[in-house]
Symmetry: D2
Subunit: 255 residues, 4 copies
């Protein structure tokens, strides 16, 4: 069964819009509602937004790079696009579900394909309690914040805050402190995929915290619950030899 | 179906031998050939040796600590031993298979429940090439050596050489350099459980290397192949609330 | 020549104000203008503010802890205060001078006894160029920011961002990246005390940066110059056996 | 006053011997006893040996690289050698003095320009106690060993074991654990130049230790005392723009 009906979305950048024009003049693009695959033109940021936007549709997503880094993207080529899409390797990405209770008692939910990050937004160091599966594992982390990442997200902000890169497909999550003051030199933990991670802001008035799921941020977070949302997975397609698995392994061996 | 027939082995330490005497006077111990479970008395080193010794028998192993650290051991208690063994939680441990070709062309095989470690034994820094699944990922690592660890072994020598602790049951392995000189600050990689890891000594005459699978060491290693040996797993029993999973998570949150 | 004329300042906390009342009822405190020493009651934050406030006066400063951590403070005791002050060990602290040019071309100057920190305040990773003594050493650091710390400040935010602790009195500064994305795993540098460090925001419009000298923050920083200001040193007094040198060594050996 | 009388020593490598032949045919080389400067041809290892060999003579040393890395060496050129030597920048290197008491009570002394390293040579993890200036700072370090390095040596083995690079000329030493098991994640310390560092093997029979000062190794070390030997300094000459200071700063900014 061949995929033939292509929808295409592009970021606002000139390179992405030019790419869209090229595809339009070569292929009969269809609206997303009629498509079998969604082509995304842009950089990793736009791709991440597109994963969120199209997450409920059950369509595979094929990115082509018109941005700077393109970790989640294939190379842009206008020729033989249908052949490449049909030959591409599918990779399911499982997002994290973040449930935030804010300082006024409101509850907010959001998905994160890369990471849920809790970060202070005042001058005051955050004081956080961390529980895993209902059991308190750290009574008080003093830090700029903490993040939970998926394997796909382990090469993003997690890498900056010195967390380990996790192979795509591995059944684990990364929990990594952001600029930890106490405990000194704490490096975080790798946790089972099934973990329920609860983070409580111990001093929400004096030490306010923002909780972000990818680019969605909730200010005044008091309590944050994070777990994998298996049912909300999205399938991303990668050209042969440029799979996400390959890129993540490469990332670990690069200097 | 209740486990009733207990065999017991003890290390040479006085505390282990005394423990064995206590058990003998309270239980009808049987030879290993007739046993349904093997009780191991000693420390982690003796436990590791026992895993190797009894690996082929298909019997679960229940350790009780008569040593110093006891990461793999339950608490020693003489009472209600059969009840505790029957209530204990099984944990399968999958060893690594190490295949070493030495400088005279001989091939050696050994299993490792904790880690396969390649370490220089001259004053000369080792020069190593690393390939994963047949693809060279690092042309030249200059270091004291490198190790591959299982999740269970990630809290042992891997922890000393700054590798991440891996949750038990996760489908990944750790590859961690030992005192890496170049590439500077290389931190190693987490790899899929199915990986085939090949390490080649680029200069075996001037820079000799020992390859160890747990405590078995082969000198003059030129080429080493490491992969998980799924069929050689051993089941270890842990008391409720003191599972290996629990201990490994604890290890990650301890300072 | 004995120090006898004591001035005293207290933070707004109740514990600090109570301490001030106790000292007032036991000693004839004088205004700062007439004092030979300034007693500071509060925590490390208030102490740091007091160093800035009294920096130009040439008076030694003796802190007593009425806060939580008290790294720069002596123990609070009301008795024998004059004897303790006269027996205390002086420690000169040399601040950093920060000179910031902002996006509208204005120049701002401030001193920092702990650290000068450049931190992004948008969602965008900062792109920074770093030059030492007029020579570009890093063309592009992609990170949340970077800091320069004194030895005294090396146990503060520098510790959180994984920088090394520097012994007090050592003739070096710490330069440490904050959550570095590229170059991967860059750990920063130790630099001679005499270094002139220039940090340039390569993309100030899209990626705005705040530059802080201790608690003074300048938004919209485009170019920041940092060097030690030897002439602006302040002398802080420490009780015997509780010197800052001792605390910093302790910090390095604590887990 | 111009340096004119050159002695030259070369390592056994063919490239070094060829270099020596070239110099011999262009310059009137003199014996070391009559020389004003000693030219060293080889790599860093031979240079380090030469520092030890000629340390007592008070002559400056000018290295030219005929090896692989050449951190301490200038570029090899046969022309204008006298001009380059006279224009070179002197750098004094202060060695460490190591005083080892072995398991039979014998005392051994040796100098180290790079590092004093204590390393286990059995399968057993070392248990070490560390005191600085007569005060015990760490009751028990469980590790493969520990090292003390000079600034010049901070880019050698210290770099491999994750210690910070120290600018040449800084008045500090590095103390860095080698594969530390407990305390977990201990990163070592930077210590004042004047420190007296004592390391005691807590279990010398079961856990034997070798103590090395550069390439001199003493087996069966029980107690090791390390301090800077200011009077034993050697002056090394570097071409303009290729000073050791420059190289060490470069090392910190390289990835």
């Amino acid at each position: 069964m061949t995929i033939e009906r292509l929808a295409c979305v592009a970021s606002r950048s000139e390179r992405a819009r030019q790419g869209l024009d090229v595809l339009r003049s070569n292929y009969d693009l269809v609206p997303v509602e009629e498509a079998e695959v969604i082509i995304v033109l842009g950089g990793d940021g736009f791709m991440l937004n597109s994963l969120h936007r199209f997450q409920g549709r059950g369509l595979p997503i094929y990115g082509m790079n018109r941005g700077t880094i393109g970790f989640l993207m294939n190379e842009f080529k206008e020729e033989t696009l249908i052949e490449r899409i049909n030959a591409a390797r599918p990779q399911r990405l499982f997002p994290l579900q973040m449930t935030v209770t804010d300082s006024e008692g409101r509850v907010h939910e959001a998905l994160a394909f890369n990471e849920v990050a809790l970060v202070r937004y005042s001058q005051q160091t955050a004081n956080l309690r961390i529980a895993i599966d209902g059991k308190v594992r750290m009574e008080k982390l003093m830090s700029d914040g903490v993040l939970v990442c998926t394997p796909a997200g382990s090469t993003a902000y997690n890498l900056s805050v010195h967390g380990p890169v996790i192979p795509i497909g591995a059944d684990i999550l990364g929990l990594t402190p952001i600029s930890p003051f106490r405990p000194r030199r704490w490096r975080g933990a790798l946790l089972p995929h099934s973990s329920v991670i609860e983070i409580t802001n111990l001093d929400p008035e004096k030490r306010p915290l923002g909780a972000s799921a990818d680019s969605t941020e909730i200010k005044g977070a008091v309590h944050v619950l994070v777990c994998v949302h298996d049912a909300a997975s999205v399938t991303v397609l990668f050209d042969h030899g440029h799979s996400l698995e390959e890129r993540i392994i490469n990332e670990q061996f690069s200097s």
